[in-house]
Amino acid sequence: MVEFSGIKEIIKPENLVYKKTNIMTENILSYCPGCGHGTTHRILAEIIDEEGLQSEAIGVSPVGCSVFLYYYLDIDWQEAAHGRAPAVATAIKRLQPEKFVFTYQGDGDLAAIGTAETIHACNRGENILIIFINNGIYGMTGGQMAPTTLPGMKSSTSPYGRDVKTMGYPLKMTEIVASLPGSYYVTRQSVHTPANVKKTKKAIRKAVKYQKLNKGTCLIEIVSNCPSGWKMTPVQSNKWMEENMFPYYPLGDLKTPEE
């Protein structure tokens, strides 16, 4: 392994503060540089490691950029048909209620082809955790317009910007899910700064705790960037996300259980 290190005297096992967890495999992620997927995977792996869930976690991976998620996290996985991850997760959770079952979906998977599955799984109050990555574009297939694309935002299928008269308004899936009685904990976070990473980690930890109570579906939306789809550098895309995505998709808890 080629490494580049700072001051050698400090590099001792007893001084270690942060290291990639072993739940994340050594496979190099297939994502573009700066993609929020990688950060989210890492946070998820850290939670699974810290909560000791490696043997009881079962993930359902989606179709989209994160389709190869099962290569990157060393836990049990099931690949679902496009958009059908909540349906598959429902079956897994009902057959093995003691397991921690979660789905990991992008906006093309959850908010486009899988809208019905998502809404009905949440409405039934299935005891699963849904992690929803929203970057407002179909990243994997070449930056086409998604249901979550912002008004006026350019994509390869809306080269003059999304016109709300003909193409409709961006779909706020998280708000829809929060309004359903079956959902238990619904929140929207992001992973572009260290502070937001900490908040997201806290939210996932909470969702893991709530899942053990069997009270309903937990959904965590993570507003993410797509440097390649948005045709920007990673740093620019994070800034663009702060300026344009956050006003439409405000961060924060949408539904929290009364404690």
Binding site: M1, V2, E3, F4, S5, G6, I7, K8, I10, I11, K12, N15, L16, V17, Y18, K19, K20, M24, I28, L29, Y31, C32, P33, G34, C35, G36, H37, G38, T39, R42, V191, H192, T193, P194, V197, K198, P227, T233, P234, V235, N238
Partner: protein, 74 residues
């Protein structure tokens, strides 16, 4: 007063040179190398290692889990 000193280790071949760590570093420790790694990316490296405080901000935002952080009091 005890001074907190940190040090980072960058796994060069895993780095994709997205520069997110460089922007999040509060002390300006990290810079992007002029050289490229096996995949052709300008990888991150501790250009000013003496400034590092071991806050782990860089490791926390790194999408690829490239950075390992060490910290000690001197």
């Amino acid at each position: 007063m005890a001074k907190i000193r940190g040090s980072i280790v960058v796994n060069v071949e895993r780095c994709k040179g997205c520069e997110v760590c460089m922007v999040s570093c509060p002390t300006g420790t990290i810079a992007m190398a002029k050289e490229v790694n096996g995949k052709g990316y300008n990888y991150a490296f501790p250009a000013n290692p003496e400034l590092c405080t071991g806050c782990a901000n860089c490791a926390m935002v790194c999408p690829d889990g490239v950075i390992t952080v060490y910290k000690t009091k001197i």
